[in-house]
């Protein structure tokens, strides 16, 4: 087994992702359970599940960079000779880094702006779900820069069997 429960302890992002997924199942399943078994319709479950999805989506997007699962067109780049290809790949990494840095900066301000808004059902500040874009983009930036720095394949795609749509 490549990753097991003990491995997760040294991998905080992976641990959080697993917990988010389990929480999403739990919240959505209990929505059904409460309606049929206890005859109560939960008011907060759908909103909470959506907030969990915002965090799951943003963090999984970063995680997919770590596992190199994102889809990119490579047929044009592969035609280039190795020298220019390396140069181009550096330029692309720099461009992506700029994009993500600008995005993270904007997401930071956006989080501050919505901090006084309150979610209708759960009553939490909207900063709590919306800061996911900030954290997610920072993590994406981190993984992209780390991979560019270390060169290649420090963490090959672990889950090739389930990637793609």
């Amino acid at each position: 087994m490549r990753s097991s429960v003990t491995d997760l302890r040294s991998k905080p992002l992976e641990l959080v992702l697993c917990m988010l997924l389990i929480a999403m199942v739990g919240v959505t399943f209990s929505q059904v359970l409460f309606r049929y078994v206890f005859q109560i319709s939960l008011a907060w479950s759908e909103e909470l599940a959506r907030f969990l999805l915002l965090w799951l989506g943003s963090l999984c997007a970063a995680y997919a960079f770590k596992t190199r699962s994102h889809f990119a067109l490579t047929f044009a780049v592969q035609r280039l000779p190795p020298g220019p290809r390396k140069q181009l790949s550096r330029l692309v990494t720099a461009l992506i880094a700029v994009l993500l840095a600008v995005f993270a900066w904007q997401a930071f301000w956006f989080t501050l702006e919505v901090r006084t808004m309150v979610a209708p059902a759960t009553g939490v500040s909207m900063s709590i779900p919306y800061s996911s874009a900030f954290v997610g983009s920072l993590l994406m930036l981190y993984y992209i820069l780390r991979q560019a720095w270390r060169g290649d394949d420090d963490e090959p795609a672990e889950h090739t069997s389930t990637t793609g749509s």
């Binding site: 989506g57 995680y63 044009a76 889950h159 069997s161």
Partner: protein, 426 residues
């Protein structure tokens, strides 16, 4: 500005920026062109693209599928399919198609499907001396049909971005999937007669009953998902959570093939796939906002409506666009960006939005099988240890049959709309 956005997007794709980020980049270029102050729209639209309860169904259906496939479900389904179609010439090939379709009824991801069924069935086919290219072509083709079988991810995404009932799309996908499935089975049968492929040995009745009993539990999941949705017991999203719990109970407590130590692997596999889909969805939402801001979808729709003489010409045009796009890239971005524009046009030309969506989903499925970058073909070749070039000659007849099937589905909307009408959706 539309030109700048398009240009940035195409160049970013060509220099191999991941699709999800290329969309955001083009969106950022468009916003910067208007005013740097608009950049704050990026996180806002990014989050808005993810903030939807129906989208939850995507990670959860994928999770349910991988729980059951870790729990040894693929083997049980293949064994069961063997009973039904194994005694026909080309039996194993038919088994692959039937089990891929049954398996899609549980897992929403066609590539995961191809991988699960392929890794069980391919060694068996090799033992029976099926030509490996032929075997690979069969199970790649089978994977392409699975975009139509509920709970397919593509159907959920189309429902969310185009505002169509996911329940109606699930219902509408079933019959077209059966039509395409029978078409590729027929081709496999003809090929099997020509290549004189073996028939599977007879199995005693007692064994048959045991195999069917074994395979019934995973297939019950299809009944729970569809029955629950159409019986009004729960929404498709809630169905996905129920499916996860069911999948866990069956593979952990009943089959006892899933270990707790498998869970992180299963969950993280789901997380990877979710990340890919979610980043494209979120960034496409930024991208679409910039286009809408410039009224580009509106102009495009007006232009199509005034140019297309009737729905059929429009539909054939859409098919060509999606096939070409599907040949060079993953179908997700075109679906997310184009469907909100194209569905209203289709409706204004007199098409049923559900029929239109199913045709696009079927088309996208064919794209997943066709060279050079079809994901099902890629996964199939990976498992078989052969190359896309070697499989392509064997695959071409299958692609032609699928395209013919697509044409039939296009010309006869009743095939698609029969089940939704029966259930009161259309």
């Amino acid at each position: 500005m539309g030109l700048i956005v398009a240009l940035v997007f195409v160049i970013a794709l060509l220099v191999s920026v991941p699709v999800g980020l290329a969309l955001a980049m083009a969106g950022m270029a468009g916003l910067l062109y208007s005013s740097p102050e608009f950049l704050i729209v990026m996180p806002q639209k990014f989050l808005a693209g993810l903030d939807s309860f129906p989208l939850l169904a995507i990670p959860l259906f994928v999770l349910a599928g991988s729980l059951l496939s870790k729990g040894g479900m693929a083997r049980r389904i293949v064994d069961m399919a063997l009973i039904f179609v194994g005694r026909i010439p080309g039996g194993l090939g038919l088994v692959v198609i039937l089990s891929a379709m049954l398996f899609s009824g549980i897992s929403g991801s066609p590539s995961a499907n191809t991988a699960a069924v392929g890794s069980v069935a391919l060694p068996a086919m090799k033992r029976k001396r099926y030509p490996v290219e032929f075997a690979t072509a069969i199970f790649a083709a089978a994977g392409g049909v699975s975009t139509l079988v509920p709970p397919a991810i593509d159907l959920i995404i189309i429902g969310v971005v185009a505002g169509i009932s996911i329940g109606a799309l699930f219902a509408a996908g079933v019959l077209p999937a059966v039509v395409l499935g029978i078409a590729i089975m027929a081709l496999t049968y003809v090929n099997a007669l020509r290549l004189e492929l073996p028939i599977e040995p007879k199995m005693p009745w007692r064994d048959k009953l045991k195999v069917i009993g074994d395979g019934l539990l995973p297939l019950m999941m299809i009944v729970i998902i569809l029955g629950g949705i159409y019986g009004g017991v729960f929404t498709p999203t809630e169905a996905s959570a129920v499916a996860v719990v069911y999948g866990f109970v069956v593979s952990f407590f009943v089959y006892r093939e899933l270990k707790l130590s498998d869970l992180p692997d299963v969950l993280l596999g789901t997380a990877s796939l979710t990340g890919v889909v979610m980043l494209v969805l979120a960034s496409a939402s930024v991208f679409s906002f910039v286009l809408t801001f410039e009224r580009i979808p509106h102009q495009l729709a007006a232009w199509i409506t005034s140019t297309a003489p009737n729905w059929l010409v429009f539909m054939l045009f859409v098919h060509v666009v999606f096939i070409v796009l599907g040949m060079v890239m993953d179908a997700l971005p075109p679906i997310i960006i184009l469907m909100p524009i194209l569905v209203p046009v289709a409706v204004s030309l007199g098409m049923d939005p559900v029929h239109f969506s199913i045709l696009v989903a079927a088309n996208v499925g064919i794209g997943m099988v066709s060279p050079p970058v079809g994901i099902c073909l890629f996964v199939a070749c990976g498992i078989a240890g052969t190359s896309i070039e070697a499989v392509t000659p064997r695959l071409v007849p299958y692609l032609l049959v699928l395209l013919a099937g697509l044409l039939v589905l296009t010309l006869f909307p009743d095939i698609t709309l029969f089940v939704p009408r029966l259930l009161g959706y259309a």
